[in-house]
Symmetry: C2
Subunit: 362 residues, 2 copies
């Protein structure tokens, strides 16, 4: 059955335009691609014909002959995690501005799904893929790597010629957060990490510990608990913290969803945020500002991340790109102060209090 079903007339093609403008298809192609050598009068005729027949170039055919699809793949973990739509949006805007289309897919932490996703991207002949899963699914992308595709990872990636890595400077923002808390008078500060099997989670936790150490603040083992970067796990983690002998006056979380879980846990107690316990998130997802209270959080700029991803991809795709040789692309982070952090209610509440460590050195 060759005909599109519902009696829809076939879209005009380059021949229709050529016929109407009384030129060859080569000329139409030149005009449409703005090759300067075409006679102005002819070009005018061609444009008019284009308008009249409603010609839109067929990207498939273009891709076939040029060998480049002008499609960028973007792989995220889960589209319903509020961090990602924002990233996708930015990525898409930037890519479109550079004349690319974006093919988005989420792994949902499912190997079979990821496998299929990669196959789909291969079939559509994407020019390159950004894997922004913050995860551990690197070996799943082996196929892509083997194809020699331009690839971009976050934090870490295989050490191969066509692979570029976005190096997020977690330390920067987390240090700012800890200093902010310390300046407010906090010193019993807890940390709820993400799943430590995830590299990015371990890195964030390490950054927290270094920042505390720099200020000469103690981090007892009980003050660091592992979560799963979900609201539920954040709530559970906070409940564990609540059950411990010594209550922290502030808790820093490895991502915003965790922090939201903390807010929920605290809401079921008499502890008020930020009056009694301050809470800091990480990511600055859209949702953060909608919470009650709006969340103080470390921002990892989506815009910056997306911009770097698109540029790094282009560096691998477009011949002669200025930064073609760059393997690592730095991404900064910074603290956004909202209303979930404040001074601790009193510097030394009665009862169970550890001696404040001497704030030596700096």
């Amino acid at each position: 059955m060759k005909h599109p079903p519902q009696g829809r007339r076939a879209a005009a093609n380059i021949h229709d335009v050529a016929r109407r403008a009384r030129v060859s298809i080569a000329t139409v192609s030149r005009v449409v691609n703005r090759i300067a050598t075409v006679d102005a009068a002819l070009a005018e005729r061609v444009w008019q014909a284009v308008d009249e027949v409603g010609y839109v170039p067929n990207t498939q055919a273009r891709a076939l002959v040029s060998g480049r699809s002008r499609i960028l793949g973007l792989i995220v973990s889960e589209i319903t995690n509020p961090f990602f739509p924002e990233l996708m949006q930015e990525f898409d805007n930037l890519a479109v501005a550079e004349g690319y289309e974006v093919m988005i897919g989420s792994t949902n932490y499912d190997a079979a799904r990821t496998e299929l996703l990669i196959r789909r991207m291969l079939e559509r002949k994407v020019d390159g893929v950004a894997v922004m899963t913050f995860g551990i699914e690197e070996e799943l992308v082996e196929k892509l790597v083997k194809q020699g595709f331009p690839l971009v990872f976050v934090d870490a990636g295989p050490d191969l010629p066509n692979v570029r890595v976005l190096k997020v400077n977690y330390g920067e923002g987390i240090r700012e957060a800890v200093r902010h808390l310390a300046a407010l008078g906090h010193w019993r500060i807890a940390f709820i990490s993400g799943p430590l099997a995830m590299r990015t989670a371990a890195t964030r936790r390490d950054a927290f510990q270094s920042a505390m150490a720099e200020l000469g603040l103690a981090v007892p083992a009980a003050a660091v608990v592992e979560g799963k970067h979900t609201m539920e796990s954040g709530k559970a983690a906070m409940e564990r913290l609540l059950a411990a002998a010594e209550l922290p006056t502030a808790v820093v979380c490895s991502n915003d969803m965790t922090a939201i879980g903390v807010l929920h846990a605290l809401d079921e107690t008499t502890h008020k945020v930020p009056r009694e316990i301050s809470v800091v998130g990480f990511d600055d997802i859209h949702l953060a500002q909608f919470m009650l209270p709006p969340l103080t959080t470390v921002q990892m700029s989506c815009r910056e991340l997306a911009a770097a991803a698109v540029e790094a991809l282009r560096a691998g795709i477009e011949p002669g790109h200025a930064k073609a040789a760059e393997r690592e692309w730095p991404i900064r982070t910074r603290l956004v102060v909202r209303r979930s952090t404040d001074c601790p209610r009193d510097s030394a509440p009665a009862g169970k209090v550890a001696a404040r460590p001497a704030s030596d050195a700096k």
Copy 2:
């Protein structure tokens, strides 16, 4: 420059496989497309060759010859509005399951952007487009309509042969919400609408008014205020309600973001939710369950919406589809009770109280 830049070897094509399996390209094509008439031994050889050279069929070429891209367009208003990622996710899953790819775009309520988006979809030769903007941008899609594309709209669309419409039954869920509130003992119930220029907003408001009328409950003009479907507008609207002579004991919102704004407005007062004022949202976005308190809301099932959209599109694309003739596709809504609704504190607070209308009839 014909070579892909970074020394990436060209992907294997059908000829490579044919050569390796010592068969013609036609046979490879048949095997890959699972045409049953191929000799088993040959097929085996072909599959092996496919594996060995890592062959992946080129979708562009397929599309070129078949005249169908197997790409579905999906247009939403804004990707950062939490309702949409959920819809996209479902839509994508379903489409992929049917062998389609999805091309997503957001209008951001920007005409130029939409124009470009449609052009991009035309260029990529999408097989059909679902316009799920809940909006007023219909005439912007004129171009698509004129091309005779299979098109799907929500609520309302132009009356043309290849256009299908998802008819959301707002009344159903909103009636449930109002009855739920009434059963709890509320009768001074306010409504915060979306921008009334948006058809869906007007429809939801009308549904609220009918539901109230059915129960014999009065809706004074001051109890219906217009918002903009954003958190800020919801907050502002609630503040207007707060300033009025007579406080409602419950407020129903035209969408969840509005309800979240209401929660924020109330958080700045002494009125507790749900103890003193109950709040109901609409959409059941992911965020709803994360709020404090978790939001009671009318669910418009993303899954159902997405499923209907994909099916309706297929009905227009695939020859001989069972529901090819169906123009309207019904979508149900239902109430999800969480913790932002409860009995009003007392049925008759001292002071400014309107006489309770006789609950006549039902």
